[in-house]
Symmetry: D2
Subunit: 251 residues, 4 copies
């Protein structure tokens, strides 16, 4: 059984403003999605985050975003395909520059926030992101959302020669299509650690989840997105880590 990797957003501080418990999260994850200076982070934060990832043997991924610090990259922006291609290249390169100073390389790319959502919704934007990746380095995997039917992104990735890493969420409810239930709806976010760990275990084992309409949903995922905002979420990461490590050693 392939091990399900844990990824978390990191390096989301900016100048004097601290965000996230990176020091607490880093020891427990495999992949650090490092903000590249367009929605969060700055050269100093990136340097510290890359050093921290290095210390824990965590793979550094680029987390490029729309240019919007105030909105933290969460507001969709009507960028052209070419603009998206170029802003991904710029941000991946910037992170790679700092990584290089620490003897590391960028290991994958996961678009952030509104860019991530727009890419999953709009094939032109996904294609722009893929063109950027292929132009930069065709071996660089792109992290995308695992859904019930991943054939569309999969075909596009094959056409572009891009490797996809599918990510799933242990703490979010899914609809029948395998899309995240909107946070505005009741029950969209799981808070019970047992529920979260169970969902993580099912995803890791290829077992079905129960979608919001009661249907069975199997998600083929390579990685699980976890969050490290507070003590509670750090505990959840640790519980997931242990559950997955247990599965792995049992297999």
């Amino acid at each position: 059984m392939k091990r399900l990797l844990l990824n978390a957003d990191m390096g989301e501080s900016f100048g004097p403003w601290v965000m996230g418990l990176d020091h607490e999260v880093m020891p427990h994850v495999d992949l650090a999605n490092v903000a590249c200076g367009f929605h969060a982070s700055d050269p100093d934060v990136i340097r510290m985050t890359v050093r921290l990832a290095k210390r824990h043997g965590v793979t550094v991924g680029a987390h490029p975003a729309y240019p919007d610090m105030v909105g933290f990259g969460r507001r969709s922006m009507a960028c052209s395909a070419e603009e998206i291609e170029n802003l991904v290249l710029y941000q991946v390169g910037a992170l790679a520059g700092v990584c290089r100073a620490e003897g590391l390389t960028v290991g994958y790319v996961k678009p952030h926030g509104a860019l991530y959502n727009d890419m999953m919704r709009d094939p032109e934007i996904l294609a722009a992101v893929m063109r950027a990746l292929v132009a930069y380095d065709p071996r660089l995997p792109l992290m995308v959302m695992a859904t019930r039917d991943p054939s569309a992104p999969r075909e596009m990735a094959e056409r572009h020669g891009v490797t996809l890493w599918f990510e799933a969420f242990a703490d979010r409810a899914y609809d029948a299509e395998g899309r995240l239930v909107s946070r505005r709806e009741l029950g969209a976010v799981h808070h019970d650690p047992a529920v979260i760990v169970d969902q993580a275990r099912r995803i890791a084992g290829g077992e079905p989840l129960t979608a919001s309409d009661g249907s069975r949903l199997v998600l083929a995922a390579d990685t699980l997105c976890v969050h490290g905002d507070n003590a509670e979420s750090i505990a959840a990461i640790q519980a997931i880590r242990e559950a997955l490590d247990g599965l792995a050693s049992a297999s």
Copy 2:
């Protein structure tokens, strides 16, 4: 006789704002100092500039600056040595990311504006820039100002394992130390094309200039900085190019 390379600042447009006659300048120079998004340029401008350089076989150099678009990187900022190290890494990497998409690499680094002046004035800042270069790639040359006595930067470069490229100016008057005469003083900038070409020829041939105090000044330079702001300056670049090519073929 070693050929004196011509370098020019390029990619200084930003969003909808155009600056510089890059298309007119590029065919005549060897080295393009490309702005990296902190004092000018953006991912789209960088992409276009890198493509233009590629078309003309011009080496792309990184032109990192203090983070100050409004001031165009010309205002000194009290950044720490570590901040300077990191912002150089970030900017060199960002440019390298776009270069990579075009099959190019960054060929050298020339700090911009106030960062360039501060680096020539303050050994701690010069050392920070050198640390960034060595961490990124020790083979990457650093462009610095040619002065009468380049022993201080030379020794520091040797200690860091950095290659220096010394640059001189054909259109600026020098003082006895080989520093540029301030633009606020009369005669600081040469406007007569004959004077400019003569100064270029002297620098290329290792012949002395006449400093502002009448003393003879020999500058050991690898490259000459030229500017392409208007039709007149493009004509000056062409005249210098022809004079240097004449020298090279005669030698």
Copy 3:
């Protein structure tokens, strides 16, 4: 007959980058839409623009935009109604602060670019802009697009207690609804000065235009938007000015 005022975007330079022929345009217009630092302009550009307006007795209007310098405020951004309300307040206030130093006040508000388009399209965004205006100063007119049927914005303005100034374009083709024909379509922009002046004269006189489908279109407009990007457009402004002044003195 009410005089049709001419308005033009001004103060769109930024740091070292110059945009627009403000000095050539200012003598011929009544209203200067001054960029407020979010899509263009900076405190120094604003100061110069306000001084220039003052010298020519031109009314200064605020031209607030989405926070997007690279995209020049032309890219739609998914801002919340509250965010729009606050960014309008901030920008109107910033301009007003500089105006006050020159003994002027902000005379009206015209949202810029994508914010203008979004406001004409989405009543929630228009309402957010109106709330900002009313909160700032209910006497401040809001410039909106003149269309065939302005009843919707008019009703909303009445509910909010906001005065509207409708603007029309002399150099753009209109569809039957009184919307601008997209620039991507042939014939969307008039280039013939005679056509432009005739359209200006018709709008000023309340005479019908011919819409793109051949129907007759009457636009009730308070102001005409003109552009001063190059010598040709300056000449067009002058021709419109003379035509309107001729109409005004004849009436």
Copy 4:
């Protein structure tokens, strides 16, 4: 006896990043120095902060800064006097715009961070700030540092027609000139609540402090700067508040 007002920096959050315990501090202070978007804050943060100040009857002051979010306005920037004048106007105006929506006005100006320090050090910068204030509204007081000999700023303020509010610190050691002892030196910052309250009481009562060289130092102050970063500092603010209120009611 004149009441010594308490002032605190507020509205220093930015986009998704929270800084400061504004809700805890606001009830205890008289004056809120509100960041204006150049070193911290954004239109939404300003709106919330202004509302919070209004709720507690606290006077809103503008806290303008150099344009440097990453450096939080703490890095000196070589801005010209005219640039400083204009960036102060822009920031005061922006805050005033949001205040106006809440029925408030800007009550005073206190430059932030490096701009504050530069203004106390360099009379040209202080004069630029004063010109901005006078141009905006000559009744607007300027907060400056209380020192042993305030004659220089006082004379300049009289020449410009500016009212000064002198501020002192209860938790910092002073040198013989009445300048703050550098934070790099031992004993620069008082941590003992009793020492802090005693220093506040002395300043309020016009009693001498003991400077770092042992000399007696009397500071004529109108306001005391307090900080609300953590629970400890909130407690210190409350203790100072009680001590000062006790003094006031006793007099």
